[in-house]
């Protein structure tokens, strides 16, 4: 993949995600920040291709990268994570998988139909698992930091 290809995919994945921010009624400065998640998921998905040829495992890692961005930005900006997550996930939702599955079913090419169908379901599952993985990590982190805060508070109280 050349630099030009990369540049084109960055620009067009940003445009596509920006389109979704209009469809889902985002306003203000979030309008321009939320699409960055979509760019991250798409670019990581493309860049991982030489290392990991499998679509499902690549979707998993790309989703993790985007989810990391979403969770961190959501905490900094004090916005629900969903706002970023919905925009970020959409580029990987397997629209093309769905189409080709349907196409092979029409052509009665059942070998390809089954393989495409399982890949599509696999990608959807990989997106879900990647998202859940990062969300759970952050949830545990928040719990721990609250516990530590509470403990240090009690400690300082005892000292008084």
């Amino acid at each position: 993949m050349t630099i030009l290809d990369l540049l084109i995919s960055i620009i067009f994945s940003y445009i596509a995600s920006l389109g979704f921010t209009f469809v889902f009624h985002i306003r203000g400065k979030l309008l321009f920040i939320a699409p960055i998640g979509g760019v991250i998921i798409w670019v990581v998905y493309l860049l991982l291709e030489p290392i990991l040829p499998g679509e499902i495992i690549r979707s998993f890692f790309a989703t993790m990268a985007a989810a990391l961005f979403c969770e961190v930005t959501a905490r900094i900006m004090k916005v629900p994570v969903t706002v970023f997550m919905i925009i970020a996930i959409v580029p990987l939702v397997p629209g093309s998988g769905l189409y080709y599955t349907m196409e092979y079913a029409i052509e009665e090419n059942y070998d390809m139909f089954m393989s495409k169908c399982t890949t599509t379901i696999g990608i959807a599952g990989a997106i879900a698992v990647g998202m859940i993985f990062i969300a759970s990590l952050f949830r545990i982190g928040t719990m721990l930091s609250q516990k530590i805060k509470k403990a240090s508070y009690i400690h300082s109280y005892k000292k008084l």
């Binding site: 596509a16 209009f22 769905l98």
Partner: protein, 252 residues
Amino acid sequence: MNSQQILNIASKLGYSMLKNGAETYRIEDSLCRVLGAMGAQEIDVFVINSCIIISIGADDGSTVSKVKRCYEKVTDLYKIEKLNNLCRMICENRLEFEDIVPAIEKIERKKPYNKFVKLLGFIMVSVAFSVLFGGGVLEAVSAFIVTLAFFPVMQAMDALKVSLFFKNIIGSAVIAIVALLSESFLGDIQTEKAIIGAFMNLVPGISLTTSMRDLVAGDLIAGKNALTEAIIIAIGMALGSGLAIVAFRIMA
């Protein structure tokens, strides 16, 4: 303020969040916190995709409860963000009790983007994805035409309150037909790139995302409901475009 007033405010807040597409576990969590901040006792909140049930203990020892059904749903991330801020303000006691209802109404009054902005969003999605999936200029033009054709159809079906399954069948059929027709005047193009680009407007991204977040939060009923919705949308899309393509091949 008595428990009846608290209950009314909480159900109004929860209904507003549910209607604008917040996840159920977030609504349950927010309402519990808000009710706690307003001094309610024995709080129980149960939310699924289409219904909110709240029950709190009243001052005289009895229990008051309220069921709120939600039939229409949109995805308005701006309102979700603002309602979330409102919940945070109530929990930190930065808002007077009388100001809560006007604040909710103010958020609800904010008009969503008009049709043209939405159409612009749809066009951006279709064109950009047809390029990302390997299409060229002609495929992008085809995706543009397809979006111009299927957007009014979707709007009309929303206005007529057509069911989700049927809406996706018709929508994807229109996409496939217009893309195949555009081949006749655009020359030799890869129609599937244009179709997939336009498909990205319909794919069940939100249902999938919210269902997974609900499932991992342990809310199995709400997660299962959203997952079923995603599967119904996907089957509807495959069916609609498949029928259109078969019909086209028989006629050709």
